[in-house]
């Protein structure tokens, strides 16, 4: 099989993953997109491993590592998303902007918003 097929597939997968990370709103989908990107890399590793006829099969070994780490990472990520959802009632990534530094006039408006959010939390 020609190398071009898996590489193009990996590139497409990676692009889809990038798009998902940058554009999706739901944090779970963002995590899934990250997985897509990881798998695109895995695909590349395996394909090049075969194409280069590596006697040590370092590419395949590395793929196993990646899969293991990805599993751990997705567990941790999902746990964070779960906590985020519990705390805020939403898993939308573009609404989790508490670490932002709004401009001066916003800072004045934010205080009541924060108070409302707290109130909503208490009600929940």
């Amino acid at each position: 099989m020609h190398l071009a097929y898996p590489v193009v597939l990996a590139a497409l997968l990676f692009s889809v993953g990038v798009y998902g990370v940058l554009a999706r709103r739901n944090a779970v989908l963002v995590l899934m997109s990250v997985e897509l990107m990881l798998n695109a890399v895995n695909l590349n590793l395996v394909a090049f491993d075969v194409w280069l006829r590596d006697s040590l099969h370092a590419g395949q070994a590395l793929t196993l590592f990646t899969i293991t780490i990805a599993a751990a990472e997705i567990g941790l990520g999902l746990a964070i998303v779960l906590l985020l959802f519990r705390a805020r009632g939403t898993a939308d990534i573009d609404r989790a902007t508490a670490l932002g530094d709004p401009a001066e006039p916003l800072a004045v408006d934010e205080a009541p918003n924060g108070a409302e959010a707290l109130k909503g939390q208490a009600a929940a």
Binding site: L22, A96, A98, D101
Partner: protein
Amino acid sequence: MNLALPTLVPALPALGAAATLAVGKKAPGLARPLAIVPVAVSAVLALVVALQLGTGQVLDVATRLTPTGGPDISLGFYLDGYSSLISVLVGLVATCVQVYSTAYLKEDPRYPSYAALVSLFTAAMFLVVYSGDLIVLLVGWEVMGICSYFLIGHHWETADARSASLKAFLVTKLGDVPFLFGIFLLGADTGSFRIPDVLAAATEGRLGHPTLIALLLLAGVAGKSAQFPLHTWLPDAMAGPTPVSALIHAATMVAAGIYLVARLLPVFLLSGAALVVLAVMAAVTMIGSALCALAQDDLKRVLAYSTVGQLGYMAGALASGDREASVFHLVSHGAFKALLFLAAGVVIHAAHTNSISAMSRIPGLRKRVPDAYWTMGIGLVALVGLPPFSGFFSKEAVLTAAEHAANGEALTNGLGPASAVPEAAGWIVLISAALTALLTAAYATRLFLLAFHSPAGAAAAAPQVLPAADRATVVVDHEADAPYSPELDEADPATAEPPAMRWPLWVLAVPTMGFGVAGLRSDWLPALLDGGSLRPSGVTAVTGTGLAVVGILAAYGAWRSATARLTTGRPAPAAVGQVPGQAGAPAAEVIVADPGRTLLGPLFGPARHGFGVDRLYHVLFVRPVVAAAQLVRFLDREVIETYVRGSGVGANLLGRAVRLAQTGNAQTYLSALLAGVVLLAVLVAV
């Protein structure tokens, strides 16, 4: 000769000042002894040093204080007859003033700092007198200036005292800057700051720029000794306590300038132009201040203007090349003017006013302060220059010196050729001194008659009140802007003359009466000085005394006629009695027979205001300086601060722009990151 004694003379009062400052607040009981004892001891030591030194000897020792790269600065003594004489005068007056102050400032909470400053001042004056090095002399000179500033501002609660102290400081400093450059130039020309070296160089004619040096030094002397262009601070300095006026502004500090010229007279003799300038300065000062004194209403200001005038006499004697006469007059004037000021302090305490027209309305003032009355009389007679009081002899010595200089045979006593003194200088001094003798007699008589002998005072139980119609026609004598006396009203009329205030008067009265005799024999006082003659010559003695008598008679006549006009031209006391409610009213204007008004005529108004010199300086100097200060304030507030504020605002705006990027949305950050990576990749690839 034991060097410890002359070292202790300036050191003791300085240590006393430090001790008074240190313990004065905590132990008020110690303040008085600490103020009096060191000054008194150093006065005695100064006398001992003078006796040990004897006549005709010079003590000149020095140790190098610091190398400067140029002429070295040394710490040393240069003692001769002049320094002996003046140090004894300083010690005597300072001791009297310290004793007097214990009573005069009895209730003053700031007495310790006052006494410490007086002691420090005394130490500085001793330093000036004893120092053999011009730079060390300058240190004492400036310490005196700052002490004078603090002491004039003793009553700093009043705006008068504050502005007077500032004025004194600024005006004297204005003279001190050229003075400093004069010393530098002198040091550069002679290669030494030591007085004996400078004198040797001057005698050998090794000075490169004698006229420039002399004129620069004269500026400092004019500032310190209150000569014409820079005299304006001295009358205002009367805002200080009266003993300070006696010590600083009559007997010692203002004499420092004269003393310095006397010390460096060989330098001045090299420049005829400088002597003529000095003569003109002295002449303008003498006549102007005498006219001003004739018109003043404030007792202390009369005395202050008289001090300015008498300093003019001393400067005149120096301009005539005779430093003996100058220092002779300095010492006798120091004694009788200190006496006059201290007596004036007693009178002011008893009368609770500085105004002599107000004093003339106080009944029996002369009986309440008999000692002050008599000693003031003695002092005034000495000031007028009637024989046999000290003022007569010293003033005649000045006149004689001027007469000799006018004839081209100046009494330089071997300091330089007689031809060194231009005849013009002698004539200027002679004529102005004669005229001033007349005016001095007039204002002294006016002062005495108004303060103590006014018939209004005798019959003042019912002061004369003018009808409203008359009030408009007669110029009111009591001016609204008459200087305010900040003296505390603490004197009980029954004890207006405590012993501590009475005895210094009589102590000072002794030299006032007898010191003049010392100049009669050439082996008495002249032997201590340059060895010339101080005996008054016949012509000047007769002229001077005659002019003084004429002045007295004129003032007395004017006073009599003014008094007579007042009593006949005004409604009788009976008329006043009809409106008793008006008699004691504060608005009542009481007219005093002022002979000064009659004598001066149209000049009276300008003379009372010092011929507008203050106003002129205000227009010429104060206003431009204030305008410049406002310009600087504008530049600082509006221009420089705009830059400072602009940098703050700019950083703020920049921060706000950067802040916009920090939205908190992780996806935005990642997008930016990706864009950056792509950009870098493209750049690297291409």
